[in-house]
């Protein structure tokens, strides 16, 4: 099976400073792929590049075999749902309006949202446990509720590719678990899920594949028990963990 997303001779740079260099990488659909690494390693840069937000300095990204830069912006938005790490609305919009933005690539001129749009929004809000927040203004919500709403915005697109930058950063343990299960179930139903995260116990329990990035290069890649071995943990994260990472041991009550 060919990979859903393919990176080929990719080099990313901000101005002249090279921040990411990947010779070749394929990311499959039907799997949860985790990007881990210290702050500044290049995880977000990789996600932004996969999302088509950042044009690589050289090399290319292919989505289902087609160069990402050849997609029309709307078409790309229907296929890739991307959640940036720190997007906050400038105005205190109502919660549901934010989730509805996920349907923006499907809107037709001069018509309101369709029944299908409303269904997708309802579903996304249910999945993220935000349905009860519907008509509350965004600025009155807690940071965890905000993070779940923004995730619901990405889910509402129902795209085949989900790129999430630290989706669990502000969440309590129960919602962290909930969201990891959500990502796993999306992958099971055929989506290509890629996320960046810092919680190694969660990563090792829920991802099918872990890509460890350090200083702009991939230093380990494989199932969590291989990729997050003691040697990687020491060299990349500066952690002394002779037994490797123990997956999270709790479940939803």
């Amino acid at each position: 099976m060919t990979a859903h997303l393919i990176l080929d001779q990719l080099i990313c740079a901000y101005d002249r400073r090279q921040v990411l260099s990947i010779e070749g990488l394929g990311i499959r659909a039907g799997e949860v792929t985790a990007l881990v690494g210290p702050n500044g390693a290049g995880k977000s840069t990789l996600l932004r590049t996969l999302a088509g937000q950042l044009s690589p300095a050289s090399g290319e990204v292919r989505l289902q075999g087609v160069d990402l830069s050849r997609f029309a912006i709307r078409e790309r938005a229907r296929r890739i749902a991307y959640l940036p790490a720190d997007a906050q609305p400038a105005w205190p919009l109502l919660a549901r309006r934010i989730v509805e933005l996920g349907r923006h690539p499907f809107l037709k001129p001069l018509t309101g949202s369709s029944a299908e749009d409303r269904k997708a929004v309802d579903r996304a809000m249910q999945q993220t446990e935000t349905a009860h927040l519907g008509d509350r203004p965004f600025n009155e919500l807690s940071s965890g509720e905000r993070a779940r709403l923004l995730l619901a915005r990405a889910m509402a697109t129902q795209a085949s590719t989900l790129l999430l930058d630290e989706p669990g950063a502000a969440l309590d343990p129960r919602h962290q678990l909930k969201i990891m299960e959500l990502m796993a179930s999306e992958a099971k139903s055929g989506a290509c899920v890629v996320f960046a995260g810092h919680s190694l116990p969660l990563v090792s329990r829920f991802s099918d594949r872990v890509i460890v990035i350090d200083a702009g290069r991939i230093v380990a890649d494989g199932p969590p028990e291989d990729a997050l071995g003691p040697q990687t943990l020491e060299q990349v994260f500066g952690l002394d963990a002779p037994g490797g990472v123990a997956p999270v041991g709790w479940d939803l009550a």
Binding site: A77, A81, Y82, A87, A90, L93, I98, L101, H104, P137
Partner: protein
């Protein structure tokens, strides 16, 4: 649609403002309506076009202010920040400076609109493809500064004191001495600009989450920028060409109405156009009531005097909200 009530309310306010505007002023229209033909003449040929121009100009300023605040995600943005009003002003000043306005009544508005379009084009050219909102605002400030410098240059070298005073008075902004000619000129341009601005409505909602998230949900940022600058250049260019420089309407009106539409940029556009019309008609009626038979108070001076305290209030409140 929850905004039906708000829009109905604003339309009623507009009718009220029309009534005030029709009868406010030096000439006792009501007394003269039975029998005296000059009263009808004043009503139909002076007051009515002036009221309609108040609506047109106010709507252009309010609508473009709302769209620009949405795009820049900043309540302090107004049509002035992208330099289009100053560019239109430059065109008008050129017409006055070279005496073209004496040759034809159309010279001044046409030049003003042309210069607004030129300013908008220059703005898009300077900011370039892939420009962020910050780049656009910086380019706008630069374009505006250039236009203002050229206006100052014209005033500097104006050999003729009459032209100088014409320029100075024009810059203060006014709806005096307007007729149906100006309505016919401005209405289609403002309408066209308004329609172009309305096409950005949903993109502005998506932009609430920032440029990256907006792009991720399929917004073509360059296309939004072009429509925004083009729409503003047409609408505000036409408004300035008729009424001169009138500030603060585009700033104040969207800000007052925003809480009434749950802060949603797309729903703010139509109410801001109506609200801008109401505010400008009332302000214009106010200038007539205040000045009476004496030296006329200029509309731009009036809106600035009303708007600046509001501006201070806005700045102080923003300071309290942000950390």
């Amino acid at each position: 649609m929850t905004d039906v009530r708000l829009i109905t309310g604003l339309v009623l306010a507009l009718l009220g403002a029309f009534a005030v505007g029709l009868f406010a002023g030096g000439f006792p229209i009501l007394d003269g309506l039975d029998g005296e033909p000059s009263a009808w003449l004043i009503l139909m040929e002076l007051r009515l076009p002036r009221l309609l121009l108040g609506l047109i100009v106010g709507a252009a300023l309010g609508l473009s202010g709302a769209a620009l605040q949405g795009y820049f995600r900043n309540p302090l943005a107004d049509p002035g920040v992208i330099g289009v009003s100053s560019s239109a002003g430059l065109g008008a000043v050129a017409a006055l400076y070279f005496g073209l306005s004496a040759l034809s009544a159309l010279a001044l508005p046409v030049l003003a609109i042309l210069c607004a379009a030129l300013g908008g084009g220059l703005l898009l050219l300077v900011s370039g493809r892939g420009a962020s909102a910050t780049m656009l605002i910086l380019s706008g400030v630069a374009v505006g500064a250039l236009a203002n410098a050229l206006v100052a240059l014209a005033m500097n070298f104006s050999s003729n004191p009459w032209a100088l005073s014409e320029i100075a008075y024009w810059l203060m902004g006014s709806l005096r001495n307007t007729s149906w000619t100006e309505v016919q000129l401005a209405a289609p341009l403002v309408a066209l600009g308004g329609v172009i601005l309305m096409t950005t409505a949903r993109d502005l909602d998506a932009l609430s989450l920032g440029e990256e998230a907006a792009r991720a949900v399929g917004v073509n940022l360059r296309s939004v920028q072009i429509r925004l600058v083009l729409g503003t250049a047409l609408a505000v260019g036409a408004a300035v060409s008729i009424a001169g420089a009138i500030g603060f309407v585009g700033l104040v009106v969207p800000h007052l109405l925003r809480p009434l539409v749950d802060h949603q940029p797309s729903r703010l556009l139509v109410p801001s156009a109506l609200g801008g019309g109401v505010l400008l008609i009332l302000a214009d009626a106010g200038t007539r009531l205040i000045s009476g038979d004496g030296t006329p108070l200029y509309l731009g001076v009036m809106t600035a005097l009303l708007g600046v305290p509001f501006f201070f209030h806005l700045i102080r409140r923003m300071g309290r909200v942000s950390p």
